[in-house]
């Protein structure tokens, strides 16, 4: 807490002095409130067992961001360009349903100071960033999932020479709050430190033929090491007790290459983690590996993409006893499509960090030009996309498990996008999915589902647009068939009235056959956005980038406000 107070005092003094400076000073920030007044017994949604829940009628996630920017154009010896001070206050003592227990809390979630120079920048405080694709280190914030895995420490990024980019960082990782442990008004962090180094070499800056042929070629490498004091972790075997001999240092490295040019983008990335015994991988000492391969081509009206990913035992955390969403250092790309239609997103995929997987994804997108037989008067876009994820035959093996139990996820869909007339847009989707509930959710069947979606958007007048969609999901497993519909009326580009409805029409026991619906009004004025309405949503996984959070069924009045400046 003393650190936070000192930091704020320094920033206030600095801001005051800046007012007298000749250079540019501006303030940016934002306010976000997402709230729910549940109509059910609120204790059903308690997140932390020690949070005081008496007399609470309102759940909410609240964020206040504030950043002060100072920019200078004056020349100076160290090529200083400016500095930014960032602060974020979070008040999530009674958060929305479905977050991990540690998420409940309040305090200053972010404090950082960043100095920009001509050659790079230096940051101290809570730092974010990623190395390469993030398969070794990805420090980010995602409010929907409740993820904030920043490091409190320092980061320096420099362009050491034309085309050589270096990054060094180190710190302790944030892990939610500690206000229920010792009553502090600050954030909880890992006991020990994480260090990282990254280098990118832009070879096209030095190799003339590459420049002449407009080809960008980049080689890169990263190293991440975490230091952790050995815990006393015991294991009984045949009636005798043993203690794990745990490594203090766990190191991980990666190499990558990427080539871009003439519409092509080809990338390969490999990462290796030395022995990293954790609770999550059942104290396994075997190394972890990841290989990413990606090739894509795009030009006007046509694009194609093919990707493959292998991963095994690649969960890197700052603390070996941490599980759940918090405390993860890396983020493996999910290689499955993210859907926005509700029924298409009922079965989202969650990356298997420990048991490993082979994931394949391919996509072809083609737009028939206007005034052609297939394109019609305004053009037609067709996208065929497929993703398939399978397990590994054995631990540490590169072989694919082609048995029935090795099917983790499949997504094959065809999407059509067409402008029918000046005022009418059409979008249609047909999809086939397989979803291994046992692997992804911990229990259940192999679900095979088909989804069909039809969406229309009609511009009734210059200021009124009506969008409607109907969806149907068919499956013989899990809860059976679903239907859904949505209606959205956009008025004067500032008011939106939305109504959504879902119903489980087959398979589930009668008490689960309920109507789920929402009715919302949203008002937008410049940087302000206010939304209010009534919602009743079904339980399900909320996923982003392969990281998922289970949201329970919710019902109540919803209120949201956003303002950024």
């Amino acid at each position: 807490m003393k650190f936070e107070v000192l930091y704020i005092a320094v920033c206030l003094l600095w801001c005051t002095s800046l007012c007298a400076a000749r250079d540019t000073v501006y303030v940016s920030g934002g306010v976000q409130h997402d709230g729910l007044f549940p109509t059910r017994d609120i204790s059903e949604y308690r997140t932390h067992p020690r949070a005081p829940w008496a007399k609470i009628d309102h759940l909410s996630n609240n964020y206040i961001d504030l950043a002060v920017h100072y920019l200078t154009s004056a020349t100076n010896v160290v090529h200083f360009r400016g500095v930014t001070a960032d602060t974020r206050v979070e008040i999530n003592q009674w958060p929305l349903p479905g977050y991990e227990p540690g998420f409940a809390g309040h305090g200053i979630g972010r404090l950082s100071l960043r100095a920009d120079f001509e050659w790079g920048h230096i940051s101290v405080g809570d730092i974010y960033g990623q190395f390469g694709s993030g398969i070794l280190l990805n420090l980010y914030e995602n409010r929907d999932l409740g993820v904030d895995n920043s490091l409190r420490g320092a980061k320096i990024t420099a362009e050491a020479y034309n085309g050589i980019h270096l990054t060094l960082l180190g710190g302790k990782q944030r892990r939610y709050w500690n206000c229920y442990t010792d009553g502090a008004w600050g954030w909880n962090y890992s006991r020990d430190a994480v260090l990282g180094a990254d280098i990118d070499l832009e070879l096209h800056r030095w190799i003339i033929p590459l420049q002449q042929n407009s080809i960008d070629l980049t080689f890169g490498g990263s190293y991440v090491s975490k230091y952790e004091c050995p815990d006393t972790l015991l294991q009984p075997i045949d009636g005798k007790l043993y203690m794990y001999n745990l490594p203090r240092w766990v190191g991980a490295g990666e190499v990558r290459v990427e080539m871009q040019g003439h519409g092509w983008d080809v990338m390969a990335e490999y990462a290796y983690v030395a022995n990293n015994p954790t609770i999550e991988n059942m104290m396994s000492y075997r190394p972890g590996q990841t290989l990413l391969l990606s090739a894509g081509y795009s030009r006007k009206g046509f694009s194609v993409l093919a990707q493959a990913k292998y991963s095994d035992n690649m969960s890197l955390r700052s603390s070996r006893t941490q599980t759940g969403i918090a405390g993860r250092l890396n983020l493996l790309p999910v290689f499955t499509p993210q859907h926005t239609y509700s029924l298409a997103a009922i079965y989202p995929y969650a990356t298997q960090y420990v048991s490993g997987e082979w994931a394949f994804q391919a996509e072809v997108c083609y737009t028939w030009p206007r005034r052609t037989p297939m394109g019609g008067r305004y053009g037609t876009t067709l996208k065929l996309s497929g993703a398939h994820v399978r397990g590994l035959l054995n631990e540490g093996s590169w072989a694919v498990d082609w048995t029935k139990h090795g099917t983790y996820y499949t997504d094959l869909h065809l999407e059509l996008n067409k402008k029918i007339s000046q005022i009418w847009y059409l979008n249609a989707l047909i999809m086939y999915q397989t979803y291994n509930q046992r692997v992804i959710e911990g229990e259940g069947d192999l679900v095979r589902a088909g989804v069909a979606v039809l969406e229309n958007k009609v511009k009734l007048t210059d200021n009124i647009t009506l969008r409607n969609e109907v969806q149907y999901l068919f499956t013989r497993q899990d809860n059976g068939q679903w239907v859904a519909a949505a209606l959205e009326l956009d008025l004067w580009r500032c008011v939106t009235v939305t109504g959504e409805w879902e119903y489980n029409i087959g398979g589930a026991p009668n008490e689960l056959k309920q109507h789920y619906y929402s009715a919302l009004i949203t008002y937008t004025h410049e940087a302000h956005r206010l939304s209010a309405g009534y919602v009743k949503t079904s339980a399900g996984l909320n996923c982003s980038g392969g990281v998922c959070r289970l949201e329970p069924e919710q019902e109540g009045v919803k209120l949201s406000y956003n303002y950024t400046w």
Partner: protein, 282 residues
């Protein structure tokens, strides 16, 4: 027009900075990794001294849909072999968690399991297997992953008991009435709650396994079937010459008396178990 001298100056400064950063990177590479060879990964530790003292209860939250719960059950069995009678394991199937959902014939839930699960902060979204020692809620997060059970139990075993229990249990086969008589001894008078749990071993049923199959001949161990009397027990005074605590209740239908046993637990004001005793039913 930038002079050559300025360019060289910038280049050399940047190269110096690059050298420093690269040196640090090399240091990371050389020192930031420690590999433990295969034969050195487990270090024997002195075996725990089994003395008369406080007994502990390992509560295992489990469900027939939980594919990793058989491994947790094996871990609990290993701990029982290590600590003998000083560690009592009880498996609870709370209905509020989806891992216990299933067809009627596989319903191993009971209201007592729900009560203790909610008391420990268990949610519908809590992943299984999860465990707890002695119904403790002081630490931030009362549910413990099973690889940590051995460490937690070892820490608790170092504590001495302030309360001693003696008890016996008798069953009338015709009426299935179970009577438990207990005494609580303490050097200084202490008020505590005394509860009696009914536990059944080797319950034949179904269990989902990690390979996706369901074993329909699985034997569930130490399953909590309910409580005799109130779930939080009755108030008793532990002292040098205590009163007799007597509780009577009926065995639930479906319980096989041959596999049943009673666990008498003594709890303090925080509802933490401070001693326990496992009784064969005579």
């Amino acid at each position: 027009m930038v002079s050559a001298k300025y360019k060289i100056s910038v280049f050399s400064r940047r190269l110096s900075a690059a050298s420093v950063l690269l040196s640090v990177l090399c240091l990371c590479v050389l020192n930031g990794c420690e590999v433990i060879n295969e034969g050195e990964r487990l270090i024997p530790v002195p075996q725990p001294a089994i003395t008369d003292g406080r007994n502990h209860v390992l509560i295992e939250f489990t469900g027939f849909r939980c594919v990793n719960c058989p491994k947790a059950s094996e871990a609990a069995d290993e701990l029982s072999r290590t600590y003998g009678d000083r560690l009592i394991t009880v498996a609870m199937h709370p209905a509020t968690n989806p891992f216990t959902r299933g067809a009627e014939q596989y319903d191993y839930t009971c209201t007592a399991a729900d009560t203790y699960y909610l008391h420990l902060g268990g949610l519908a979204t809590t992943p299984f297997p999860a465990g707890n020692i002695d119904l403790q809620t002081e630490t931030d997060g009362s549910m413990i992953d099973y690889p940590l059970w051995a460490t937690w139990v070892a820490e608790q075993m170092e504590q001495t008991g302030m309360v001693q229990l003696t008890a016996d249990a008798a069953l009338q086969p015709e009426t299935r009435q179970l009577t438990v008589r207990a005494h609580c001894y303490a050097m200084q008078p202490m008020s505590l709650q005394l509860a009696t749990w009914l536990v059944e071993d080797s319950v034949a049923g179904a269990q989902a396994l990690p390979d996706g199959s369901v074993d329909t001949q699985y034997y569930h161990r130490h399953m909590l079937r309910g409580t005799i009397g109130d779930e939080w027990g009755e108030n008793v005074i532990a002292q040098l010459q205590p009163d007799e605590y007597v509780v009577t209740g009926k065995l639930p239908e479906g319980c096989d008396p041959k596999h049943c046993y009673a666990v008498v637990v003594a709890m303090d004001d925080n509802k933490t178990i401070i001693n326990a005793l496992q009784l064969r039913i005579e």
